[in-house]
């Protein structure tokens, strides 16, 4: 990165540079090692895969070779968990360098991570930790998004996370924070429908208000996943089928955001690929039911 580019971190462009909206990808799955063989042997009817960036930010070996082979057949999106965009700790230069190198190799359709932090003081908790939705946090994250986008040379995509606590001094709702963030940085949004459901339940707000509060033209991906309902709170486990309430929210999201690239995410208790494909077919059916001809039109572009 040039010094000139580095200096740009401290100031915010009056208007983010316009960047073309990432293309519509259809219906994909999170890429998991358990499914490698089936993907390579059977060419399953999946439109694209989302690869966890860190799983491939390694020196070499089989995971990278397999990713190369899958990339030759399917579009790939890189989805990270350790960017720590909201942390007050300095960025890890090694991490950003590794991310850029992987992007150079994979040529992903886009690069995403989460609106969260993962640690301070050189420690990584390997969790997606909550932030207060304040002006101070917004200014901080905006500067960091500019830094990353300058370094990577492309707009990034940020996902809303599931949260279990909120901070009393937040002075805006999460959707307003996301809206301001995308307006001020030009970043795109990965709208995790399950996470909206989880956070809305945990913090006593209406998930539909969240959906209505996010700018419709900035959402470029949906996540669908399962969770664990403890009655007093919900834990985002990503280890179960998408539940009926989340399918309903997916319908509402489609109505508001239109055709948006969608994946089903499963991080634990991962079933055979055929079961994931079947659940993905349900997402296709729901989208077709809600969007009708608009879906086919998006797919044809």
């Amino acid at each position: 990165m040039s010094l000139k580019a580095h200096r740009r971190v401290t100031r915010e462009p009056a208007e983010p540079l316009p960047e073309a909206r990432p293309p519509y990808l259809g219906f994909g799955l999170g890429l998991r090692s358990k499914h490698y063989a089936d993907i390579l042997d059977d060419d399953p009817p999946v439109d694209w895969f989302e690869a966890i960036s860190e799983n491939y930010m390694i020196p070499g070996g089989q995971p990278l070779q397999i990713l190369d082979r899958i990339r030759a057949r399917y579009p790939i999106v890189m989805h990270g968990v350790s960017l720590s965009i909201a942390s007050t700790a300095p960025f890890s230069k090694d991490y950003l360098k590794g991310l850029k190198e992987l992007a150079h190799r994979v040529e992903p359709v886009f690069i995403s991570d989460h609106l969260c932090w993962t640690g301070v003081h050189g420690v990584n908790l390997h969790d997606l930790l909550p932030i207060p939705y304040t002006r101070e946090a917004l200014d901080h994250v905006v500067a960091r998004v500019h830094h990353v986008q300058d370094y990577l040379g492309r707009a990034i995509v940020l996902e809303n996370v599931s949260t279990y606590v909120r901070f009393a001094h937040s002075d805006m709702p999460e959707w307003e924070f996301l809206s301001e963030l995308t307006r001020r940085t030009g970043c795109w949004l990965l709208f995790d429908v399950n996470n909206v459901f989880v956070s809305a339940f945990n913090h006593d707000y209406d998930a539909l208000e969240f959906i209505a509060g996010v700018p419709a033209d900035r959402v470029v991906q949906f996540h669908l996943a399962g969770h664990e309902h403890n009655m007093t709170h919900i834990i985002d486990t990503h280890d179960a089928l998408v539940c009926d309430e989340v399918w309903d929210l997916y319908r509402a999201s489609l109505e508001r955001f239109g055709p948006v690239s969608t994946i089903i995410e499963r991080d634990d208790k991962i079933p055979p690929l055929a079961e994931m494909v079947a659940e993905l077919d349900k997402a296709r059916a729901v989208a077709a039911e809600v969007l009708g001809g608009r879906l086919a039109k998006a797919a044809s572009h």
């Binding site: 990584n124 908790l125 207060p132 101070e136 909120r166 009393a168």
Partner: protein, 288 residues
């Protein structure tokens, strides 16, 4: 006037004191301390939800932090987990999580310090095979995703005229690592790997010499005899092949030394343990 002032003062005292709002950095420090060390100071900033308390809600992060990292240690060390059993392994892994916060953006390397942690553990340190099983599993994990490199084959070696083979320095594949074990940890590991009953832990009279590398895409381990291990170690230092033959001749029968050295070399090449051979004595080394 005095009464009004007193009333105002009383009113001010009765009003709830506004909580000082921490900076984002202070909040993150407090939150991290809450998750990692059980510090409750951050609870002042968190409201209950309509169904449960802030303590329960914060507890989700506290529980997830430990369980996620314990799972990582278990995934990286499945044979050790089997050897120790769930209870002992779980307690050990929780101890590791507590003493070794992750300092890498990538959880892939979280458990890298486990063998050293086990060696110095007051509970398991005296069971030396435990740390050695962890060392073996770490070496296999490292071989799995070590850097890619060309693999030396006989065709590429034969590009050199035989009279110059003595000048060749062998370059180990980046995935290759040597381990010397002082217990029967390898026998224990192998038995458990094959779903068998592990032998009782024992100190060995002579150390177990192992080589770990990636053969194709598969991490592989193989015991080495003393002579082969010596030759490998010297080769890895860049000692040319003629000098390796001389060392082998000192090690055992001199008249068959060249044959034995050539046999080891052939084995290494066949197993993909080498990535290159370079001529040693030229200023501009040629690599094949």
């Amino acid at each position: 006037m005095a009464m009004a002032a007193a009333k105002d003062a009383k009113k001010r005292a009765a009003a709830p004191r506004p909580r000082p709002v921490p900076s984002l950095g202070e909040l993150q420090e407090r939150f991290q301390a809450a998750v990692m060390a059980g510090d409750d100071a951050v609870l002042d900033l968190i409201p209950d939800n309509s169904r449960t308390t802030r303590t329960v809600l914060l507890g989700v992060y506290r529980h997830a932090y430990v369980s996620r990292l314990v799972d990582i240690v278990g995934n990286d060390h499945p044979i050790l987990a089997r050897y120790l059993g769930d209870e002992v392994f779980g307690a050990m892994a929780r101890g590791y999580v507590k003493e070794h916060p992750s300092r890498n953006s990538n959880a892939r390397w979280f458990s890298h310090g486990l063998p050293e942690f086990l060696s110095s553990s007051p509970v398991l340190g005296s069971r030396r095979e435990v740390a050695e099983i962890a060392r073996l599993e770490r070496a296999l994990n490292d071989a799995f995703d070590a850097a890619d490199a060309a693999v030396l084959d006989l065709a590429r070696l034969s590009a050199y005229p035989p009279e110059r083979w003595g000048e060749l320095c062998l370059v180990p594949h980046p995935s290759a690592a040597r381990l010397d074990l002082e217990t029967n940890a390898y026998a224990i590991w192998r038995a458990l790997k094959e779903d068998g009953e592990p032998p009782a832990a024992a100190e060995l009279a002579d150390r177990e010499r192992l080589i770990v590398w990636r053969n194709g895409t598969m991490p592989t381990v193989r015991p080495l005899g003393a002579e082969e291990a010596m030759m490998w170690d010297e080769a890895a230092k860049g000692v040319p092949f003629s000098a390796l033959c001389e060392l082998v001749a000192i090690f055992d029968a001199a008249d068959t030394a060249a044959l034995r050295a050539a046999g080891y070399l052939q084995t290494w090449i066949g197993a993909g343990m080498l990535s290159a051979a370079k001529l040693a004595r030229r200023r501009r080394r040629r690599q094949i």
